[in-house]
Symmetry: C2
Subunit: 204 residues, 2 copies
DNA sequence: CATTATATACAGCCACGACTGTATGTATCT
DNA sequence: AGATACATACAGTCGTGGCTGTATATAATG
């Protein structure tokens, strides 16, 4: 059966895709590697060959999507001293929402990370990494707000650093509520307007 | 050994307290009822007498703390047409943070609900209830913002309803980040100032 | 270039422990 | 005596990790 290196990589990707799917459906802890194998139309042997155990699989899945999002966010000129820093902030936030709405992989991954995973034991380390990349993003936000302040775009009496962490909190909560609101009752229809309001309040 | 009804109720409370503790330590799914029993210095028989299974125990634990928080929040005059509606909003939000910092039971419960639980299967229903009570709180926020608008306290061009859901998102995110920030590195020291900033931006 | 040796990439089996739910035993209260 | 409030014993299920088997790719060798 075994063929080329490309096939091996394809198998690995199959496993990652299947894991994301099953994790999102059944939650991480309730998912057995047998179930992942079945979804990938492989055996547990294949999974154990590519990943040492469930956490390594989980981490790999997470990092892959994180890289995707990182690229996506990089498109917005967050942190750079552009003409309209607040516009960059807005674009950056909107990009997250766009990822949630358009990309199923992103949606599933966020769903797992926020609602279908218990951050305990080995998983606690994953939490630290999430916080870490969130910090990096916050630093960029701070820069953009500082630039906005220098350019007189910012409302008086506001601290760029505080604005950044406030924005981060808002977005964390927005994503969580967006995911919780599966019935599209209250959060999802208003998400875009919320972001506009969020940024508008910062304007001078 | 166990005689009066008060003793029975005490046993029940012991179980709930032990469950909260162990859930927070090991996560809900990794916690066996045997471990809860051990922490409560009882046997599994006692747990199965008071609760049908793990979910019922979990739900009971959650509802108890939710009631506590509900009372606590009721103290602030949120939704009422008071002299300073924005102050009521601020007080209400601060009360949450105060609960997190002062009451270990609240802290543990939020920790479980936000970071140590997978909302899958039977637990998905719990999520719906959380969203529900969050909606109720959002309605009160909307009222307060509307009152603020009528009293000219609100900045021009803002929609009370949008402000309310934006606030809700902010708080959800704040609580989550506060819990994630166990090293008290970035979030916790700035939490209070963030809330002040959050409300200040709404002021006319 | 053909053959051989070895590493790779899985599939399948098995032993073990952990947890659940229930059934039964028992002491205390009413 | 009956109901209550537990403790204990038991059976059944499920997941893990390790081990074995094996077919194929890749590298070494002559």
């Amino acid at each position: 059966m075994r063929r080329t290196k490309a096939d091996t990589e394809k198998t690995r990707q199959q496993i990652l895709d299947a894991a994301r799917k099953v994790f999102a459906e059944r939650g991480v802890s309730r998912t057995s590697l047998e179930q992942v194998a079945e979804a990938a139309r492989l055996s547990r042997g294949a999974i154990y060959w590519h990943f040492a155990n469930k956490i390594e699989l989980f981490s790999a899945m997470r990092e892959q999507v994180a890289m995707d999002m990182f690229e996506r966010m990089g498109a917005a000129q967050l942190g750079e001293d552009v003409e309209d820093p607040l516009g960059a902030v807005r674009d950056s936030i909107l990009e997250i929402l766009r990822g949630l709405e358009s990309d199923e992989r992103v949606r599933e991954a966020f769903d797992i990370l926020i609602l279908k995973c218990e951050y305990v034991g080995e998983f606690a380390e994953v939490l630290a990494r999430i916080l870490q990349s969130a910090d990096a993003w916050t630093d960029k936000l701070t820069l953009s707000y500082a630039h906005a302040q220098r350019r007189g775009q910012l409302r008086a009496g506001l601290n760029p650093q505080l604005l950044a962490v406030e924005s981060r909190s808002f977005i964390f909560g927005l994503v969580r509520l967006w995911l919780m609101d599966v019935g599209s009752a209250t959060v999802r229809p208003q998400a875009w307007d919320m972001i506009d309001t969020h940024v508008a309040m910062r304007r001078a």
